[in-house]
């Protein structure tokens, strides 16, 4: 029996042991993210056929589900973790040579450690079944991506990272306010329990938390009016981090919004709203793209 907890625990442990490996040899450090992502890839591949039969729910701490923090490894979560580990593996293979080019040898360990932490946060967001645990993993992802955008330490990197940090932390505060309202309304943090208690939600009941959560996650997902950090952060980050930002970090924001709208507050009448947002987002992106030189 392979436990889905391993998908989070092994990369987290490896990430924090990277400085220790750095004492032994500088060469091992580069290989640690590849080992961690290869492990995640294999575990996700083993878990996919099992999960397609029946979702695996892991309760942590030895309490029954509504009271404990639980991991919900459904088909969508496991397939997302498979994709994250695949992208992470490919990018970390590319980073083997790319990070060496930068000629700042003292900080290689911090790059690989933050990179592995970012992927751990992303895997945690897609696998968790607890709304506050989702926030914690989301913050792990956000803080390591702020640091990685400024990794090179040059002028554009630091400037765009500080702008990204200010906007991103306002977004996380909004997410936390939304979680506080949901907890005050339903008295539980378990997503399945909230979804069970919320049957046929009235508009007023979920409007305020939903707006706060969508705005908060929308800043990380860079939905149109909230995307001011994105062009700078992408262009001034190292190429590997640029790939990870658009490949994983933004998709995690979209995944979190989808989880909130579809799974938590299931209601068909919100779909026209999300279609409109998506359409405005695409059209405005093209218009800005045509106007810029």
């Amino acid at each position: 029996m392979v436990n889905p907890v391993l998908l989070i625990v092994i990369p987290l442990g490896l990430a924090f042991s990277i400085p220790l490996f750095g004492f032994i040899s500088r060469r091992i450090v580069k290989l640690i993210p590849i080992v961690g992502m290869l492990f995640n890839l294999i575990v996700s591949l083993i878990l996919i056929p099992k999960v397609l039969n029946k979702p695996i729910i892991v309760s942590l701490g030895g309490f029954p589900p509504p009271f404990c923090i639980n991991l919900f490894a459904g088909p969508v979560g496991i397939i997302f973790s498979f994709l994250i580990s695949l992208v992470g593996l490919l990018v970390s293979i590319y980073a083997l040579d790319y990070i060496k080019v930068q000629k700042n040898r003292g900080r290689e360990e911090s790059y690989h450690m933050l990179y592995l932490l970012l992927l751990t946060g992303a895997t945690g967001v897609v696998l968790t079944g607890d709304i506050f645990n989702l926030f914690v993993f989301y913050e792990i992802l956000c803080i390591s991506s702020y640091a990685l955008v400024a990794y090179l330490g040059d002028k554009p990197g630091v400037e765009s990272a500080s702008k990204y940090l200010i906007q991103g932390s306002i977004g996380s505060s909004f997410v936390l306010i939304g979680i506080a309202f949901l907890y005050g309304k339903f008295g539980t943090l378990n997503m399945a329990d909230i979804a069970r208690n919320i049957n046929s939600p009235t508009f007023e009941q979920v409007f305020f938390p939903l707006i706060l959560l969508i705005t908060g996650f929308g800043i990380e997902a860079a939905i149109f009016p909230l995307n001011a950090w994105l062009p700078d952060a992408h262009s001034s980050a190292p190429s590997t981090i640029s790939a990870i930002l658009s490949g994983i970090a933004i998709k995690i924001g979209i995944y979190a919004i989808a989880r909130m709208v579809i799974y938590l507050i299931w209601s068909i009448k919100y779909f026209p709203v999300s279609f409109t947002v998506r359409a405005v987002d695409s059209i405005s992106g093209r218009i800005v793209c045509i106007q810029s030189e």
Partner: protein, 119 residues
């Protein structure tokens, strides 16, 4: 006045949240923006605490035999706030270190003058 005395913690929490947002939206100095971020985080923490608070409640520990469970303060939001404080400290440390590096590059912290990027 009855409304204010009943909802004093919520009033304080939203007051802090809006003060923090106002500072973030109107100030241009990065250090002041970080202070606003800290006030915003404090407001969110106070909101979380006040959701689980009961007036004249006790701690949820059965220390003496005749404690009534109805009077106990909800311990879950306090655990959440403990985590949220740790996260906001990490964000603050990151923001301050970025501000130091930004000052080394530009010799100013005025975000109106730091405009090399397009957006």
């Amino acid at each position: 006045m009855i409304f204010l005395s009943n909802y004093i913690y919520y009033t304080g929490a939203f007051g802090l949240i809006f003060i923090g947002l106002y500072i973030l939206l109107t100030r241009h100095n990065l250090i002041k923006m970080i202070i606003g971020l800290s006030i915003l985080d404090t407001g969110v923490n106070l909101l979380l605490i006040s959701i689980g608070y009961i007036k004249k409640g006790t701690a949820p520990i059965f220390s003496t035999p005749n404690l009534n469970p109805q009077n106990m303060v909800d311990p879950v939001p306090q655990a959440l706030v403990l985590t949220a404080i740790v996260i906001s400290v990490a964000v603050l440390a990151m923001a301050l270190s970025l501000a130091i590096r930004l000052y080394q590059h530009y010799r100013t912290l005025d975000m109106r003058k730091i405009k090399e990027q397009r957006w």
